[in-house]
């Protein structure tokens, strides 16, 4: 018997997942060391007292657009919100995912009905397509974009689309699609520390440094 969908699924859930998780954790740990080891010079300039800004504040406040900015790049903001929130909801509140997370970290919580997850998935997929379209259409994004950007988009889109197709039993047999779905998630995990997807971790550092810098100068950034 040649490799079957079930073999693939077993590998994906077993060795594949362990491997991917190991690479992701190895890479992220390495990256954090790489970044923090560069250090930051002590600031001899006395910081302003009673500043409205701080590193912590910016960690949160940067999740919201400044007034007027959303209109300037609506697809970036709207599409960005929809797909980020959508990804978060689907990853964290789809029951099979909760079970997977429980296996890794031992915590679980109630999930959302699949009809809700289904709608969110469609919205997320559409938003991802929209931001890709915008990446090609918007001259700034097009100029900034290279292989890494499209690769990162692809490995984000793949788990979403395979998950959706698997759930609806489309295109391929469910078992095979589920195996591909899990493998695509593993690809995402492996790429996480070494592509721009690292931002899921480093943006907290970046925002904190930004907020701290501005905060010392009396500005809430």
């Amino acid at each position: 018997m040649n490799a079957t969908a079930m073999d693939l699924l077993i590998w994906a859930r077993g060795t594949g997942f362990s491997l991917a998780l190991a690479i992701a954790l190895f890479g992220l740990t390495l990256r954090v060391f790489e970044i923090l080891s560069l250090g930051r010079k002590h600031d001899f300039a006395p910081a302003r007292e009673d500043s409205p800004g701080s590193g912590l504040r910016t960690v949160f406040s940067r999740s919201l657009p400044l007034p007027g900015m959303a209109q300037k790049s609506p697809i970036t903001y709207f599409g960005g919100y929809v797909f980020h929130v959508g990804l978060l909801l689907v990853i964290v509140f789809f029951v099979p995912h909760i079970e997977a997370i429980r296996a890794v970290i031992g915590l679980s919580w109630p999930g959302l009905p699949t009809a809700v997850i289904d709608m969110v998935s469609v919205a997320t997929l559409l938003a991802l397509v929209a931001v890709l379209f915008d990446r090609r259409r918007n001259k700034v994004k097009r100029m900034l974009s290279g292989f890494g950007d499209y690769f990162a988009w692809g490995i984000t889109f793949l788990p979403m689309v395979t998950g959706y197709l698997a759930f609806h039993h489309l295109v391929l047999d469910y078992t095979l699609m589920l195996a591909i779905h899990i493998l695509s998630v593993e690809l995402l995990l492996i790429a996480l520390p070494f592509t721009k997807l690292t931002h899921v971790v480093t943006l907290f550092l970046a925002r904190w440094y930004n907020g701290d810098w501005f905060g010392r100068r009396g500005i809430a950034s």
Binding site: M1, I10, A103
Partner: protein, 363 residues
């Protein structure tokens, strides 16, 4: 062996009513996803089918597949169908034993060369032929010998179809499926541990009715019986969609009959007819009895994580892997950190004071 008497004649001789026969044909038609009108065709063809010779080989198996078909207390039509075939060789069921049994097999193979059906249950050990022999003949030799002149080979049960439990990790006997060895013949896989009786006889009925093999899926299973997943046909599916799950076998959700996904049900990746035909003459099936599907009709089901581990869960222990990865990342990280610090220090050391002269390129 009387091969002149037709199936219809045999059934009537055994007292099966026309009504009962038509009901069986209708059930078979619907099971095979054929239009109801096809029941007539099936009936007409079965009536005229001549009694085929069947050789049943049992290798590394538990006899559960045979049990599955014979355990009914009341004689069933599927049982009768099975009886009407000329079962020329079957370890468990035949009266003959020893030399006589083996002679019967050889005789049937010669007499019906090219026409007999070969049914196999059990997997074949390839590690050492001594793991399983019959009358001093290794399983693999017997299989290849019998397959040579068979019209078709039917691998009954997950062991014959996919290797089954003998093949489960670490597969001590080097067990393989029938299809790994028989390459020059069509092999129909009828997996299940055991398979549903009516599915086995349905395949036989198909062979008898239409004279050929049913349409098979990528795993060699008749599409008509294995076309849909348990999950898709499960009466508990609405609870899955609404996010209502039993968390333990004795909680409120379990009592209310909610979805067993979290308790490890493999229904979503298991393709079989359990949820529609059910077992014990349509009485129930595992999920209905409160236990998740273990996916017994799928390849390597024994190694598909734990029976009680949700399908989406990683199957390996991750604590050590994660710990090792973080430790490795820390070591690599410390090495990179040391590099970065020395890079910064040496850059600082090689700093050449920038005066206004250096602002211009002095090539």
């Amino acid at each position: 062996m009387n091969t002149v008497e037709t199936l219809g004649e045999i059934l009537r001789r055994r007292g099966v009513s026309r009504r009962g026969f038509m009901k069986y044909c209708a059930t078979t038609a619907s099971l095979m996803a054929l239009p109801p009108a096809m029941a007539e065709t099936i009936a007409a063809r079965l009536e005229k089918a001549s009694r085929p010779s069947v050789i049943w080989l049992s290798f590394q198996e538990c006899t559960g597949c045979t049990e599955s078909m014979t355990r009914s207390h009341t004689p069933t039509l599927e049982g009768l169908i099975l009886e009407t075939v000329s079962l020329d060789y079957h370890h468990t069921l035949q009266a003959a034993s020893g030399e006589g049994a083996e002679q019967a097999r050889e005789q049937a193979m010669t007499a019906n060369a090219g026409k007999y059906l070969l049914v196999v249950d059990g997997s074949i050990p390839m590690g050492d032929p001594g793991y399983s022999t019959i009358a001093g003949m290794s399983n693999v030799d017997m299989l290849l010998d019998a397959a040579k002149n068979a019209a078709a080979v039917i691998a009954v049960g997950s062991c014959a179809a996919f290797g089954g439990i003998p093949k489960a990790a670490p597969n001590p006997t080097g067990a393989v499926a029938v299809s790994s060895l028989v390459k020059d013949k069509p092999v129909i896989n009828v997996p299940g541990c055991p398979p549903i009786p009516v599915v086995i006889t349905g395949v036989l009925a198909h062979f008898l009715t239409f004279g050929g093999l049913p349409e098979l899926d990528h795993l060699g299973r008749p599409r008509v019986f294995y076309g849909e997943s348990i999950h898709d046909r499960c009466y508990r599916r609405p609870f899955y969609d609404r996010g209502l799950f039993a968390e333990t076998f004795d909680d409120e959700g379990a009592r209310k009959g909610w979805c067993l996904f979290k308790l490890g049900c493999k229904g979503p990746v298991t393709y079989n007819a359990c949820a529609t035909t059910k077992w014990n003459q349509g009485t129930s099936f595992p999920i209905q009895s409160g236990h998740g599907c273990i996916g017994c009709s799928e390849p390597d089901f024994w190694d598909l994580g734990g029976f009680y581990q949700a399908l989406s869960m990683p199957t390996q222990k991750l604590g050590k892997v994660a710990g090792a990865a973080i430790a490795g990342g820390t070591i690599a990280g410390i090495a990179m950190a040391a590099h970065n610090r020395s890079m910064k220090a040496s850059a600082k050391q090689s700093h050449e004071r920038v005066s206004t002269d250096e602002l211009e390129k002095g090539e």
